[in-house]
């Protein structure tokens, strides 16, 4: 087994710099998208997709997980993903809560007085 090779911190500074450039480019795309009018769920999907790519680049290269033992990756990553997904279980309730909201029909700034005619 090549135990000696793994003592070295794998990855060259050139590789890390290119990852940094990629992260900056993805960030610039995000800022550009902010000013593109589009439905919020499109925007959310694209932004989260880009964020997950950025997170994966950071974890894989900067945090060096790409060069760790598979057993460590399998211990850490799947349980984290499952736990985060489980948190979304309550999320549909937010759409119900949105329908239950009190409608402020008599907001002074906007709504006209109902007794006017």
């Amino acid at each position: 087994m090549s135990a000696h090779a793994e003592e070295h911190f794998a990855g060259s500074n050139k590789l890390f710099t290119s990852i940094w450039v990629w992260l900056l480019v993805l960030t610039l795309i995000e800022i550009f998208l902010a000013y593109k009018p589009m439905p919020i769920h499109f925007m959310l999907t694209i932004l989260l997709g880009l964020s997950i790519i950025k997170a994966a680049l950071i974890v894989a290269y900067f945090m060096h997980m790409k060069f760790e033992r598979l057993s460590l990756i399998l211990t850490i990553v799947p349980m984290l993903v499952v736990c985060i997904c489980l948190m979304f279980v309550v999320f549909p309730d937010s759409f119900r809560a949105s329908g239950l909201r009190y409608k402020f029909k008599e907001t002074p700034a906007v709504a006209p007085a109902p007794e006017e005619h």
């Binding site: 793994e6 990855g11 890390f16 959310l44 974890v59 736990c83 949105s98 909201r101 906007v110």
Partner: protein, 226 residues
């Protein structure tokens, strides 16, 4: 550091099994587990924020200047600090502790720049009148819908909680790196790598906070300025 030297530093008695099942030291494994639990904390906060946002009229008040310009420069600072950190760990793996210290100090510099910019950005919002449980009056009048639904006053609560907790992590990270930089010749390579793990995690969290809090709250039409 050779395998033999590390074997001395991480004696088998630590695990009583004679092997390192993950081929990382117990401290590094501990940091990974801490990162998992901290990820869950931030996930819960961000999902709670999304829940509130989806169930309320949500103000989108951030102008290009100062908010987006500041947060973009802050993102640049954090990404650059991750790069200097990884250079530091790389130098340490070559045994060049002096260079490692310089890179770690660079990382602390970028981290401090992030915190200072963030505090200035907070100050902008606070002086505009944003509070944890209330919005500035002109935000309320601008973002009230045509059928009279008021924007949620929880904008400030979610904003200050999430960015505040993240800022706390950055500040803690700067102190942590300061200790590592001061003791760089005494600590071994893996300890420097572990501080790097923490620092990159702080950067990683910002990669979700920035789009969800800032990019999705851009005042695209410039409604507030009108």
């Amino acid at each position: 550091m050779s395998t033999e030297a590390r074997a001395v530093h991480f004696p088998a008695a630590d695990w009583d099994g004679g092997v390192h099942p993950y081929r990382v030291g117990h401290r590094k494994l501990g940091m990974w587990l801490f990162i998992v639990s901290d990820s869950l904390t931030f996930s819960a906060l961000l999902i709670g924020y999304s829940y509130l946002r989806a169930s309320n009229v949500w103000p989108t008040p951030f102008p290009f200047y100062p908010s987006i310009v500041f947060s973009s420069v802050m993102t640049f600072c954090l990404l650059s600090s991750s790069l200097t950190m990884v250079f530091g760990v790389s130098a340490s793996s070559r045994g060049d502790k002096a260079a490692a210290r310089k890179w770690i100090l660079g990382t602390m510099f970028f981290g401090a720049a992030f915190v200072i910019l963030h505090l200035i950005e907070w100050n902008h919002l606070i002086s505009e009148g944003l509070r944890p449980f209330s919005l500035p009056a002109h935000w309320v009048s601008t973002f009230t819908t045509t059928d009279g639904q008021l924007p949620s006053p929880l904008f400030g609560a979610t904003f200050f909680t999430i960015t505040g907790l993240h800022m706390f992590h950055v500040t803690t990270g700067i102190i942590y790196l300061g200790v590592i930089a001061a003791r760089v010749r005494k600590v071994n390579h893996e300890d420097i790598e572990i501080s790097g793990l923490y620092w990159h995690f702080v950067d990683l969290v910002w990669m979700f906070v920035f789009p969800l809090i800032y990019i999705l709250s851009v005042d695209v039409g410039g409604h507030l300025a009108k």
